[in-house]
Structure formats: C-alpha cells, structure tokens
C-alpha cells in the first residue's frame, strides 16, 4: 500500500473511532500535547493507561470474589478507572464505569459483576483499536510520511 492510501486509511479509521464513541475530544487533546520535543507522548500515556487498567480490572475481579464484598474498595478502583479513561478519551470505558459506581452504591453484586464484564469488554475493544491506530501511524512514518498530515 502506498503512502497516500495509508494516510487515507489512517484518517478513516481514526474518524470511525470517534464516530463509534470509542474516543472523544480528550484524545485529540492528548495528540495536541505531542510535539517534536515529546514525539511519543500519546503512546506513553496510552501505555500507562493499559497497564493501570489491567491492574485495576484484576483488583476488581478479586474484590468481587470475596465472601464479604468491600464496596468502598471496589468503588475506589472504579473511580480510578473512570478517571484515567476520561483523561485519555476512552469514552465507552468511562461510561460503563459510571454505571458500575451506581451499582456499588446500591451494593448490588449482580450489577457489579455485569459491569465488570462490560468494562472488560469495552477496555479490550479500545485497546485493540488504539493498537491498530498506532500500528497504522508507524507504517506511515516508515513509508516516509509525517504527522500532522
């Protein structure tokens, strides 16, 4: 695939991610913070988000397996996940976190388990999509293109 086609593919893909609600304008903010002095800022922050989210999801699973569920602890973890997803623009993950917190407040274990499943799903979707986006970006850079286009 030549450079122009790659660039077209990149733009289309990125647009679809916004369109489908995977990303919101906060992701655009992140990109605007990237420059020649900080060329990898977006990848760095998103990588931190992946690591942190995986840790939180494991903590949540463990906390929900307990005999006596500590809803305060679960809420604290979900609050963190909501915060980081909001900060990078992972809108769909953030939305599930909001519902999750409501179930925590109600101390509804079924609701919490359902939300955990949903948030895991949304997280893995956005992770795959962002990784594809970064890959496309890399291909463009390798083919001699540059950003912004």
């Amino acid at each position: 695939m030549d450079l122009v086609q790659l660039q077209r593919q990149f733009v289309d893909y990125k647009t679809s991610l916004y369109h489908e609600g995977f990303l919101d304008e906060q992701f655009t903010q992140l990109q605007e913070l990237q420059d020649e002095n900080n060329p990898d800022f977006v990848v760095e922050v998103v990588s931190l988000f992946f690591e942190d989210s995986e840790r939180l999801l494991n903590e949540l699973a463990r906390a929900l397996e307990q005999q006596n569920i500590d809803y305060k602890r679960i809420d604290a973890h979900v609050h963190q996940l909501k915060g980081s997803s909001s900060s990078i623009g992972a809108q769909r993950v953030q939305k599930v976190c909001i519902a999750f917190r409501n179930y925590c407040e109600e101390q509804n274990v079924e609701g919490c388990l359902k939300c955990l499943q949903q948030v895991r799903h949304e997280y893995s979707l956005v992770k795959t999509k962002l990784e594809s986006l970064f890959q496309l970006e890399q291909q463009i850079l390798t083919a001699g293109g540059s950003f912004p286009m």
Partner: protein
C-alpha cells in the same frame, strides 16, 4: 530571611529565592556589589543571570521595573498532586507546555513533605513553589484537607492552590473556594484550562 552582616559584607544563603534577592538589592546600595560577587558563584546559573539583569537595571538604587518581576516569574514552579498516574502525567505535560517547572506528588502527605510541612521533611530540601494544583479525591488526605493545611501555614498560605475534580458538585466547589482555593477545575484538564490558570497566576504575582 537570615543573612549575616560583617562590616560592609553581606552574605546571603544560596537558596535565597529570586523575589527576596530583589528586596535585598533595593535595600542595600550598590557599593555592596563587590561582596555580591563572592557569593555569586554559589547561586545557580539562572539566578546569576537574573542578578546581572537586576544590577544593570538599577535594582541597587531601590527601583525595579515591573518587567523584571514578570521575568522572575517566567518559569513558575508548580507542585501537582494526584493519586492517578495518568492524570499526573497529563497535568505535568500541560503545565510544561505552558512553560512551568513541574514537581509531582502522588498523595497529600508526600506533597506536605515536599512543601516542608510534613513529618518527614529533610533539612534544607524545601523548595520554593509558586502554585499548587491538587486533585480533590485522594486516599488518606483529600485535596480539601491539603488545602486547609496549606492555608494554616504562615509560610505557605499565600501560595495559590487550585483544586481539580472529575465531579461537578457545587457544594464541593464552594467549600474549596471558601477555604481559600484560587480556582476549581473540572477534569479532564485541557490546554486551554492550564493557559487560563497560568494567566491568573502571573496576574496575582504582579
């Protein structure tokens, strides 16, 4: 600020903040610039260049231009406190993009230590901070409690404190502003928020 006077000589500690150096030079006449040269080399290069500028604009005669004050505040030092790693990284980048020097702390206790108000503050490690920006919801001590501690301190109460939160709760906002927070900002932070913040900060300093 402690300094010792031996006949015509004045010794200033190397950690003397630029704003206080201004006061000294407006107070003592220029004949003391020879003493100044000896201690000069103990200052950091940036402070040295500032002092050169001050002397050349006649700071020793008791006057100092407004431009000088702005220049001294050109790279404000901000302490950013947040328990979320991603948010810390983001606020750091936003502030650096607005030409601020940034130190981050992952919780209120660490922040207090850094500010010199903690139990574990080491002698001689207290740095001058021009602004503190803190998250509201943090485990242990909240941003609100941190704000209160800062306002209770005679040394730090003039330092502007900004509170950030992902939750838009009016009672929370008014509580913080009543306690003396300069501003309350909603997360996630954007570049425009930080630019506005810096503008306020520079305005206050003049």
């Amino acid at each position: 600020m402690a300094h010792s006077v031996l006949s015509d000589w004045i010794y200033l500690p190397a950690q003397t903040p630029p704003s206080l150096l201004l006061n000294y030079f407006s107070f003592f006449p220029l004949k003391s610039n020879q003493i100044f040269l000896i201690s000069f080399l103990t200052f950091s290069p940036s402070k040295q260049s500032l002092l050169y500028k001050m002397l050349s604009c006649g700071a020793g005669s008791g006057g100092c231009s407004k431009d000088m004050a702005v220049e001294l505040g050109d790279e404000p030092h901000v302490l950013a406190v947040d328990d979320n790693l991603i948010d810390r990284k983001l606020v750091e980048r936003l502030l650096k993009n607005s030409s601020c020097k940034v130190t981050t702390a992952e919780n209120a206790l660490r922040a207090l230590d850094y500010l010199g108000l903690g139990n574990d503050t080491l002698e001689g490690t207290v740095s001058e901070v021009n602004m503190i920006i803190t998250d509201y919801c943090m485990p242990g001590m909240t941003g609100y409690e941190l704000l209160k501690k800062i306002k209770e301190s005679s040394v730090l109460k003039e330092v502007p404190v900004v509170i950030m939160s992902s939750e838009n709760i009016p009672t929370r906002i008014s509580q913080c502003l009543e306690e003396g927070a300069k501003m309350f900002m909603l997360k996630p932070l954007k570049q425009s928020d930080v630019k506005q913040l810096k503008w306020h900060l520079m305005k206050c300093r003049n």
